[in-house]
């Protein structure tokens, strides 16, 4: 089994279904190098679904979080000021001026055709 340690490098495979969708993690495979990982990726994990693009990442290039680092992800739920939740009272206010509130649904609809 000489050298097989190196043959078994781990690659993480990402792909997207359509040109406009975001990349999604699929699974990992073992390959001796990037090119080999590349020619095996689609047939190993996406034999039946449409694929628009593939990314291959050697796992050693991924910075992962350890348990201690994961503790940095916790936070208090006192941050209404960052979200629309903290500004809910505006609805009532605008009513006083006989105006509709510009909520998320309304604002995100502006990208369409002008009505």
């Amino acid at each position: 089994m000489m050298g097989e340690e190196k043959f078994y490098q781990e690659y993480e495979i990402f792909s997207k279904r359509t040109p406009s969708s975001a990349f999604q993690h699929q699974f990992s495979l073992l390959a001796p190098n990037e090119d080999m990982a590349f020619i095996m990726a689609q047939e190993n994990f996406m034999r039946r679904e449409p694929v628009a693009d593939i990314w291959i990442v050697n796992r050693k290039h991924i910075k992962k979080m350890n348990d201690e680092e994961k503790m940095t992800l916790n936070r208090l739920e006192n941050k209404d000021y960052r979200t629309t939740k903290g500004y809910g009272y505006l609805k009532k206010k605008w009513r006083q001026y006989e105006q509709e509130m510009l909520d998320e649904k309304e604002i995100l609809s502006w990208g369409g055709v002008r009505k």
Binding site: A31, I39, E43
Partner: protein, 270 residues
């Protein structure tokens, strides 16, 4: 009988059928030899990728057999399974076993041979498909366009295997060079159209043998350059020209396996 069919001269029809059998039988045998590898490749991930290529290729064979069925040559399944070896038109390169030994026991399958045969054949197939897009027989041109779509992956896949193995250890280089010699020895009939050469070429079904050979050499030259090797010269067909139904005993044995189950009762539905 369709209009297209009734308008064909006998010579044209014979030439067309001969060419279609060559294309179908090549892919069928290549896919069969590939399918024998299933589960036995040197790496699991590689096994899975290889199997997709075998499946694609058997799908291509099925499309060509269907064209023959449409021409009234017989049912596609029958054409694939029950024509005797003397009626088979595949190149002898594609009937060759993967290595010594029966696939049910402990066969000595040679990965270098699989890679080299695949590279040589895939390039030949590509050159033919490029030409077939302009075939005078439109149903064939349509099929060629579809088949060609799946060939990008096959070519890239085998290119990488070919380059990497020839750029690695001495053992691998030796095995790859031995495999190149083996494949070359059988490569003579790949671009032969056999006894129908004139009619096939004259009727514009596909480019001439000479033109295809020339295109193949040009197409594969960069690959050989990338591994510091000279592009091999395509030999003349040996006296075993598969296009004329001349075959090795490997084909006979293969056909017996391929039809073993159906043969039990070929009138039954399976």
């Amino acid at each position: 009988m369709t209009n297209a069919e009734s308008a064909m001269s006998q010579e044209y029809k014979d030439a067309l059928e001969s060419l279609l059998f060559q294309l179908a039988d090549d892919d069928f045998m290549y896919a069969y030899r590939g399918s024998e590898w299933l589960g036995l490749a040197p790496h699991i991930e590689a096994d899975i990728a290889f199997s997709s290529i075998s499946q694609d290729t058997m799908g291509h064979a099925a499309m060509y057999y269907q064209l023959l069925e449409d021409l009234g040559a017989g049912k596609a399944d029958h054409l694939a399974h029950f024509r005797p070896s003397e009626d088979r038109k595949n190149s002898i390169l594609l009937e060759r076993v993967n290595g010594e030994g029966y696939y049910m026991e402990t066969p000595h399958y040679d990965w270098a041979y699989a890679v080299v045969r695949s590279v040589f054949y895939t390039y030949a197939k590509k050159v033919k498909l490029d030409s077939l897009r302009e075939s005078a027989y439109l149903p064939l041109a349509d099929v060629a366009l579809k088949v060609r779509m799946e060939l990008y992956y096959h070519k890239m896949h085998w290119d990488i295997w070919f380059k990497q193995l020839l750029n690695s250890t001495d053992v691998a280089k030796k095995k790859m060079n031995d495999a190149i010699q083996l494949v070359l020895a059988d490569f003579g009939d790949v671009f032969s159209f056999g006894s129908h050469k004139q009619a096939i070429e004259k009727n514009g079904l596909i480019a001439s043998e000479e033109e295809l050979k020339d295109k193949w050499s040009k197409l594969i030259a960069p690959l050989f350059q990338s591994v510091q090797m000279t592009t091999p010269i395509i030999p003349e067909p040996s006296d075993k020209n598969g296009r004329n139904g001349k075959h090795t005993s490997d084909l006979e044995k293969g056909l017996a396996t391929l039809s073993e189950v159906n043969k039990v009762d070929s009138a039954a539905v399976w």
